[in-house]
Chain length 473, copies 3
């Protein structure tokens, strides 16, 4: 609305509590962790991108197209996804610039969201943008970023280095050769430890289209016969070992619910056989998947991979968008999710198993205080995962901080995960987390619930030691 373009500056105190009795404390605490290396134990960076190290195509391809956080907000504001290049490859200069102009002209749609915070930090810190994005500044900002992207300083590996990422876990298919990971690990110029994560969802859900082919293929990759249940389990175990050999530290599971309920062997075998033949009922397929959660925990106890759960998302809520633009395009919507009863059979077996780590994420914020924190406050195996997706914003994070720590303490938190497909947002996301953690701990000090030395130690723990311990780095 202003006719003179407003400036874009990052205030050093942003996101720190405004309360004058808290802010100076928060600032001191934050300073102590601001520059610590980033540990990213869960995310969606493409290892091939890091291996190739090719320049990013353009600002839109880097910051808009792959980021469903951005595109869903623009879509809600009435902008069709095809105009933003969602699900498409490189758009070419003209369409990429047009998409960028849409983002800037609708910058107000991001007000109040963490997306705004992340993008501002990216524009200012990575690309040196000094003008607030808007219709009048869109081209100038585009040109500035595009200019950066042509420099070696802004190629993927240079950014990885600049971001100070010490550890980076990707998310990978169990049938993946992990060749990209092997090549990165073999390259002495890559100082970040980059490891795969075993994400077997599609092999554990017989109701998914293509499941039978997928498990047969997995068997082939693992050199076992997945034509029967025993071979299928063997294939999973072998692929886990393959992942372990490539540095993996965890498995990740994102199903419709959190239920882990074992079947007896004969039942599991029977359903598996019927599912392969395309004859399993929907109820049987669900029972099988829930059974496999217990199996995954059993395998984790054996091979040491940390098990992380991300349940409770209704995927692809809008079929027409799925058909046209593919998955992960902004219309996955949370549902209420139960944990206490759901996880009992698993925890009955493995909840006190030495060395077993189970990190519980949720998109149902009610569950943190009611179920996740009480579980993490008793079972040595259970850790509360950081607020994730839809909850990765200041309000939800603050609610999480107080409600979980007052029940389970700080030691039961798994630390921050950025979980992002937007490579450049990684430092901004970790920075947001550090600011919010500093602010929360400063509040405890200001209320005389914690001494400042304890707060500083706790904050460093959340940023550094805790994720290393929980993810066994």
């Amino acid at each position: 609305m202003a006719s003179v373009p407003a400036s874009l500056t990052l205030h050093p105190d942003r996101l720190l509590p405004s309360d004058p009795a808290v802010r100076p404390l928060a600032r001191r605490l934050y300073e102590g962790v601001r520059d610590l290396p980033i540990v990213s134990p869960h995310g969606h960076v493409d290892p091939q991108m890091l291996l190739d190290d090719a320049p990013f195509a353009d600002p839109t391809a880097l910051l808009v197209q792959p980021d469903h956080y951005v595109t869903r907000l623009l879509h809600a504001g009435g902008i069709a996804l095809d105009r933003l290049g969602v699900g498409a490859g490189p758009m070419g200069e003209e369409r990429a610039r047009a998409a960028w102009r849409l983002l800037c002209a609708n910058w107000h749609l991001l007000r109040g969201t963490p997306v705004r915070f992340w993008l501002e930090a990216e524009l200012a810190d990575i690309f040196g943008v000094t003008q607030r994005p808007g219709a009048d500044t869109a081209d100038a900002v585009y040109d500035r970023i595009a200019d950066c992207l042509r420099q070696d300083s802004h190629r993927p590996r240079a950014l990885l280095e600049r971001f100070g990422i010490e550890f980076l876990a990707t998310t990978d298919d169990p049938a993946d050769s992990l060749d990209a990971h092997a090549a990165l690990a073999a390259d002495p110029t890559v100082t970040t430890r980059i490891v795969p994560t075993f994400r077997p969802d599609r092999y554990l859900e017989p109701e998914r289209p293509g499941w039978a082919d997928a498990v047969r293929h997995l068997g082939a990759v693992a050199d076992t016969d997945a034509g029967h249940y025993g071979g299928y389990l063997e294939a999973l175990e072998r692929r886990r070992r393959h992942f372990l050999a490539h540095g993996a530290v965890s498995t990740d599971h994102g199903h419709a619910d959190a239920v882990a309920e074992p079947l007896d062997r004969a039942e599991a075998e029977g359903i598996y056989a019927r599912a392969l033949a395309g004859e399993a009922s929907a109820a049987e397929a669900t029972a099988f998947r829930r059974h496999m959660m217990v199996e995954m925990a059993r395998m984790s106890c054996a091979d040491g991979l940390v098990m992380t759960l991300h349940p409770g998302v209704f995927r692809n809520h809008h079929p027409a968008t799925l058909d046209r633009f593919g998955a992960d395009t902004g219309h996955d919507i949370p549902v209420a999710t139960e944990y206490t009863r759901a996880l009992r059979p698993l925890l009955e077996r493995y909840g006190t198993e030495p060395g077993f780590h189970l990190v519980l994420f949720t998109v149902d914020p009610d569950v943190y205080a009611r179920e996740v924190a009480p579980l993490a406050g008793f079972y040595p195996a259970v850790y509360a995962g950081a607020p994730w997706w839809f909850l990765d914003n200041p309000a939800a994070i603050r609610s999480f901080q107080s409600s979980v720590t007052e029940i389970a303490g700080f030691s039961r938190l798994a630390g921050f995960v950025d979980d992002t497909r937007a490579f450049c947002s990684i430092p901004a996301r970790h920075d947001m987390s550090r600011r919010l953690d500093a602010g929360f701990l400063a509040g405890l000090v200001a209320e005389h619930r914690l001494d400042e030395d304890e707060a500083a130690e706790t904050l460093a723990g959340l940023v550094s030691q805790q994720p290393r311990k929980v993810f066994k780095l």
Copy 2:
């Protein structure tokens, strides 16, 4: 307890955040919208009252009897509803004064509630009361208000004018002639735009007593034969056109749940026929109502009426009170309500339909962050309705503000609705909303998440432009 009556004064900073780093900002922002005209797109003012413009009978008839917010709190405190004139007509001076004394003597029961805030604002701003209500001041306050009510300055239309209400939607039965609305629209001295709202609940729920007679009557009013399903649909469509012709901008729906699930035509016809014959099962009646939600959305896509949903209230929880005092007497109680799965069939069809607006209200606060905001953050049709009933208080509003905007931004909010039967509370309710919005936005500025110019623009948008856009005024 004090023997000298305490004074009643409205502090200019009331409800603004106490944090000294936020309050001055909040005050500035609030000043910018304090005197903007009121847009009230959903409420329960009786148009006949405005047409008649008769003086209000007495303080109790105006401020106590019709306001279940007030009477339920007194009832919980042990005061029988008949002593308050609930569900009764004018009580006469003696009983009205006795009821008023009960309110004042029990003024402490309202502490901490928004009802207290509203009533104080009404007493001070509209009636010039300067003493805190109490047993010792009850008569003086009563007399002061009664005296005002005898003046022309305090008749309904004069108040309407004084309140600065630019737009006022009432809530009306689809069979209503809307003659009162027509007369008000034809009166050049009425400067407020007063429009009806199409509220068809009772015609969509075959399980309600009297449903068959009601739909037959609706058919007669619409000059169609509602003896079969096609005629019933035609009757609804015609009455919507009748409402549109009288300025209506929206339809409103308040059922037990949010489910919208289509039946195929033959099923719908069959259930309709059986329901007319009194032979539909409870499950069929529910299925029919859920089907009709999809039909209402279809009709909205065709005729442009905004669709608003207010589900999740268990109506008339205490049968003895219902029998004696009627509905809307303080014992409607919220229940947990699901939206993600419930609305999918509707949104699959119409969620990206240009021009379709669906405003989601809830009395289940958990749903805002988990379901409503994610839906509004993707579907261009979906807007998050303001916290409503039981949630129309500062704590719930503040929670709504942060949890919804951090997921969906400000642009997906439908703006404030007062939803009140208490005519005099309208300005106080809008004022509360403006104060809380100003305070919330000031907090974002104080944390350097938004520039002050953006906050001011966003606040004006919430108060003025946003409801106009969402409700198509």
Copy 3:
């Protein structure tokens, strides 16, 4: 981490809001109630301990072994329960000291939790500890406490006196003779009013092992024949009278859900008979228990005992821990709990019955705003119980304060209950509550929603008058 042991000091402003516009107000309000006598209408102190008045064995037996709040956090941190003496008798000096060292060395596990606040207050206020617990100070702290415990000043009755406990309700089995209570009541040196609470859970749940023997025994104790349903009801009524005769003011009920649904007499008789014969189905047993909730309400209307509900806990989540260490060992986990529909049949009958008081507790924090507050804001019988277990921490209490009072006002709160098995934590728990209430009310004053005289009166009401009124003391 510090090599010089840090000090332990209790800041006078701890837990008061840090906001400089609120803290001075909060301090003034708190000062007004800090030293008021403690009213404890629900808890788990053993009356025999008070009768015997024997010195406590050692610091671990007093502060660690019986307190599942402490032991579950240590267990989650990897310390086996047997090392802490859970479920065991006196451990002897060596093992007790070893357990104490574990607590101190893991003191950081308590950061951010209310357990830390309580223990600090206990150590400093009751035992004069001045060093922060840690590996290096464990023995000194142990010795200091052990030394105190050898003094008469730290025997149970001396502490009871020192704590300023005016009223103390214990929790008792309906078959209990209540001899300990009778002896305490007869002792003129005991100035605290100590009364039993009627806790009949095990007699109302036919699915529990040993139920048939238990009800037969209850019949014998009551001198009736519980071999049939009528005699069983008579036994319960007689035992309630026995409790009343010993000063009881309430009954307490902690079942898996909140459902109260009556059966007709013949059904109830039939299930009772089948259950005695070991032939009732699980569904019948549940139906019977839900029926008995209505019966308990009926009896409360007749005899005046206040009825309190504590539903929604999944008991003994980890079977191996139950088998080895017994119940109440830290693995009871909350589940989502419904109240609106569940309690309707009970409230339909007794919700407006004069003199009937029903206090609703919950471990599902979502229920406060959505269901408990709306129910308490209409039914004169219903009061909102204080945040309890898992929710007895500052964040949950603050959320409860705002969400419940803004819907139902302060007058519908039942006041604080400490509900503790940790005798020495009683004053610290009440102090936490007073600080948080003072802070909350100060915030209302700072936002000009309440005058300071009203806030002071309301706070005194919450601490003193309200629990006396609700629990009919």
